[in-house]
């Protein structure tokens, strides 16, 4: 239930960011200065923390999506769905913690 809710919320969040991200990247066709100035805002602390949330959403959505595929296609998937939920949490921590450290150093140092 809660992984289902989180999958929807993280999915919508990523979709909204994708729209913004295509628009900001499109500024490379306007001028180097236009692109560099929008990239400057991506390096500010507040947006930097937002990126942390975005990457968290991506990592969760990716691994929970793999879990959903295994539930659908793997013969033991439905029986192990709860354990796979914990595997998603474990993989999330393993990837997100090193990323958070690296990214926070890049943003704040």
């Amino acid at each position: 239930m809660w992984t289902w809710v989180a999958h929807r919320i993280s999915g919508v969040l990523i979709f909204l960011f994708l729209f913004a991200h295509v628009l900001d990247t499109a500024l490379v066709r306007v001028s180097p200065d236009a692109y560099n100035s929008i990239m400057h805002t991506y390096k500010t602390p507040i947006v930097g923390l937002g990126e942390l949330g975005l990457v968290a959403a991506v990592i969760f959505h990716a691994f929970n999506g793999i879990r959903l595929i295994l539930v659908d296609f793997w013969s033991r998937g439905t029986r192990l769905q709860r354990q796979m939920g914990w595997a998603v949490v474990a993989l999330f921590v393993i990837l997100f913690v090193p990323f958070a450290i690296r990214h926070l150093i890049n943003v704040f140092a």
Binding site: V22, V58, N106
Partner: protein, 159 residues
């Protein structure tokens, strides 16, 4: 025809034989075909590919080197001077957008109650998808790294 066929009259007295050989009502909708099945399958297939593409994108852009601090016009120019990253980003753009549109479409179907609301939301969704895909694709294909006068790329110096 003297002995009558044994009938179990479950459906207005029709004989069982007739019910099993040819159903009086259509069970599967012909109007939408297998669209929902294909969309369900697409979410799983594109999801697996996107995991690789998006994780690779995040690792190269945010983990390697200076991460977000290193991203500027020259960074993009360096990446998109290679057909490898152009292809990577193009495939990622299309798969992510279609995967996202399909997900949001499902959410709209789940929560809207009025037909008019559903139509408006789906129209806006389709419009945003067309805008994103056309703009994104054009940007990748028409990108010119040499509009930066400070470019150090070899193809820009030669001009």
């Amino acid at each position: 025809m003297s002995t009558p066929v044994p009938t179990s009259s479950t459906d207005r007295g029709r004989p069982v034989t007739e019910l099993t050989t040819r159903s009086p009502y259509q069970r599967t909708s012909r109007a939408r075909g297998n669209f929902e099945l294909w969309s369900w399958l697409f979410m799983r297939g594109s999801g697996v590919v996107l995991l690789v593409l998006v994780f690779g994108h995040l690792f190269v852009n945010l983990m390697l080197g200076e991460g977000i601090k290193a991203i500027n016009f020259a960074f993009v120019a360096g990446k998109w001077s290679s057909p490898f990253w152009q292809t990577w980003d193009l495939v990622m753009l299309w798969l992510a957008e279609l995967h996202g549109v399909n997900g949001v479409r499902t959410i709209i179907n789940d929560y809207t109650e009025r037909d008019s609301t559903r139509l408006i939301l789906k129209s806006l969704l389709a419009l945003s998808a067309v805008l994103t895909l056309v703009l994104g694709t054009l940007v990748i294909f028409t990108f010119d790294p040499c509009i930066d006068p400070a470019s150090t790329l070899s193809q820009c110096k030669a001009q």
